[in-house]
Amino acid sequence: MTPQDITKLIVRTSMKDRAAFDLLYRQTSAKLFGVCLRVLNDRGDAEEALQEVFVKIWTKADRFAVSDLSPISWLVAIARNHAIDRVRARRKPAADIDAALDVADPAPGPEAMVVAGDESERIHHCLEELEKDRAAAVRGAYLKGESYAELAERHGVPLNTMRTWLRRSLMKLRECLER
């Protein structure tokens, strides 16, 4: 499936075409489930989140028209944001280490970088301009949806320090991305 094919499926889904929706599910659910699993770190939770994500895709597919995102990135954004909202609403992080070990390493392998192509070079290049631990914090936060509170605990710094730290990294990233 090319991005154009996925775009067509999203547009047809926005017009309540169930066949298109079914095909869109078949083509993209594995990636979106990977997103939910990574953020929620719990299979049952991730399955429920994926359900809600596809309900959202069905009802909000028309919004795709006003986004600058590629179709698959738009779908991933819905899944990520939903999973993060869900994990944030949960009181304690799940201690399901096994599920965490099932999924890939936060740093993308060389293949993923090649597949992602030109556009990705920019963000990866800009992350390399940051200090190593800060780049890792940004990557980890993005992929796992970690909160400031969790990051602060893991890095052993006060919450406000963590926030200042990450905000500064984001400003540097922006400066590099807009260069």
């Binding site: 659910s29 399955e47 006003v66 600058d68 944030r88 556009e119 990051l151």
Partner: protein, 240 residues
Amino acid sequence: MTLAEDNGPERGGDDLFAAEYVLGVLPVEERQIASRRIDTETDFARLVDGWEVHLSPLAAAYAEVEPPASVKAAVDRRLFASTAATSAEARAGLWSSLAFWRGLAVAAVAALALYVAVPYVNRPAEQPQARLVASLAADGSDVKYLAVYDSERHDVSLSHVSGTLASGKDFELWMIEGKNAPVSMGVIPAGATAHIGVSPATQQKLAQGAVLAVSLEPAGGSPTGQPTGPVVAAGDLKGI
């Protein structure tokens, strides 16, 4: 160089807030605030979209994991379990009947398939389809329009099927071609039927089957040239 010197505090603050939202580090209350602002403030929504675009290559690191079949079954139950219960809608008449709109879509797709199957399709100079039709509707909205594009008269006629317009607001018609930004075709004049003239540049795209969409805008139309309100109805043009 501080951010305030660079861009002014307002832009910097909102842009950083958007970045924090996209990164996913905010606590639950602040995520809710951000999410409300995305729905109500176009400028903020654009900042968020921009960060999603910047950071999206990182998502390549997410492994694909096949979900169990029970998930899709649950999605279908949640979305379509009540599809059979359309008797109330049938009573509301043909125009608001889901079955009618579905039937129209099926007929349009069938007509399109027939059209595509005709060997003349290789000769684009021939435009046997003088009229294209689109039923414009969207989930969560009661606004429905039926749009007919007459390629000989360069005119889109719109029948306002349902949905009311709040005072101080206007419906605006947009043409969306693929992933390109929506192109305004103008504010839809009030009334049961309305006609909108079509510019030559838009004519060709419509003939190729672009998507039409209706958004809710401030009176007089979008001030930015892009949709600023929700899309309340959309549909693609198909041969009759």
